[in-house]
Symmetry: C2
Subunit: 223 residues, 2 copies
């Protein structure tokens, strides 16, 4: 098996390449745009024959719209005619808390005042999805998760919530980003369960500003 997987849902682009001979995991966070970062990651995998992959895995979000578009387009270009597996970018972050004895709530900043979120429960090395990804305000996310305890909040929105584990700010920020190893683990879980897709379906959850503007203009009768 020759697997390449990529997640561009956060400022830290993570990628893995695995075949019978080697495993290469790269994580890159720069001030460059996602398109540049993806190229930089690929440059670091110079020994990989990208024309000869079997499976392409891609983090489908939710997360930053532009980053996701770049990542998904790249995966499409790379994998066309091959098998794709889709990885939830929130689950990817939740996997940092794999051994937590309780619920893991991933919360990531979306449009002003809103957060993407999903809730997971670790069980023998796997994560059960308890609440599927949705987009809501801090108050309503708190409300929705009230019944679940204890909780660990991970993600760039974790500062708005109170975890039952006390992490310092630096560690929380690192544990709120994906890792290439976990991307590999989740890609393998998809492969094992034969959840292959032909079309990649990004999990945008929220409409882009262009779409919102278009709808607004449509409503106003100007388009």
């Amino acid at each position: 098996m020759k697997l390449f997987a990529l997640d561009t849902s956060t400022p830290r682009v993570v990628a893995c390449y695995v075949d019978d001979e080697k495993k290469i995991f790269v994580e890159l966070e720069t001030k460059a745009k996602h398109g540049i970062q993806v190229s930089q990651v690929v440059e670091k995998m110079a020994e990989v024959d990208f024309g000869n992959l079997n499976i392409v895995g891609i983090g489908i979000g939710p997360g930053g719209l532009t980053g996701l578009r770049v990542g998904i387009s790249f995966a499409y270009g790379l994998g066309i005619g091959n098998k794709f597996v889709q990885i939830s970018s929130l689950k990817l972050i939740a996997l940092n808390g794999l051994f937590y004895n309780g619920y893991i709530a991933v919360v990531r900043k979306a449009r002003e005042g809103y957060l993407y979120s999903a809730l997971y429960k670790p069980e023998n090395g796997k994560l059960d999805e308890i609440v599927s990804p949705f987009i809501e305000t801090v108050d309503l996310i708190n409300e929705r998760y009230r019944e679940f305890s204890p909780k660990l909040f991970l993600g760039d929105g974790a500062e708005f919530f109170e975890s039952d584990v006390k992490l310092n700010k630096f560690e929380l920020s690192e544990l709120s980003l994906p890792t290439a190893r976990n991307l590999y683990l989740l890609a393998c879980e998809e492969i094992e369960n034969e959840r292959f897709v032909n079309d990649i379906e990004p999990l945008y959850l929220q409409k882009s500003i262009a779409e919102l503007n278009f709808e607004k203009r449509k409503k106003e009768g100007s388009v």
Copy 2:
């Protein structure tokens, strides 16, 4: 701060480079020797000015002797005149179980019949070292850890022990290897606590075959 850190204690060489502009995390597992793997990792960090580092971090083991020697020599060459921080290669693996609600026993294969081991307890995002690294047989390790419960065993020797978490073989093998992100976290912990050293002290724990042979010959009066 310009930090480079490296761990060569396992078949998966992991490295991180961090400055104000970028974070680069690389993990590489090939069939090549550690010396080659270190070069391959460095090649993947082409944008790094290795002549201009402030701090060099190095995984000091315990682990494979040759790998450690290669890594430590490289760190020495790279960091001479700079500050060094030392990272326990067992703690680095233990950090994979950061949120485990119990004790994490890292067990790694050493010379035939023996394992390196150390015991940690996670507490609010840090690991307390409960039992310092030592080398013993499976039976005596089990004996020594009897009073600690529940336990999670990580490392390439985990197959000889019974964890209170059931992981499948594939996940256990991945969670038994270091990650570059965790290397970065532990290096930062050393830096924060100003545990800088001038001389790197590898944690070999066991004598090399050359040393054992030499002692044997000395005892026999042939040297």
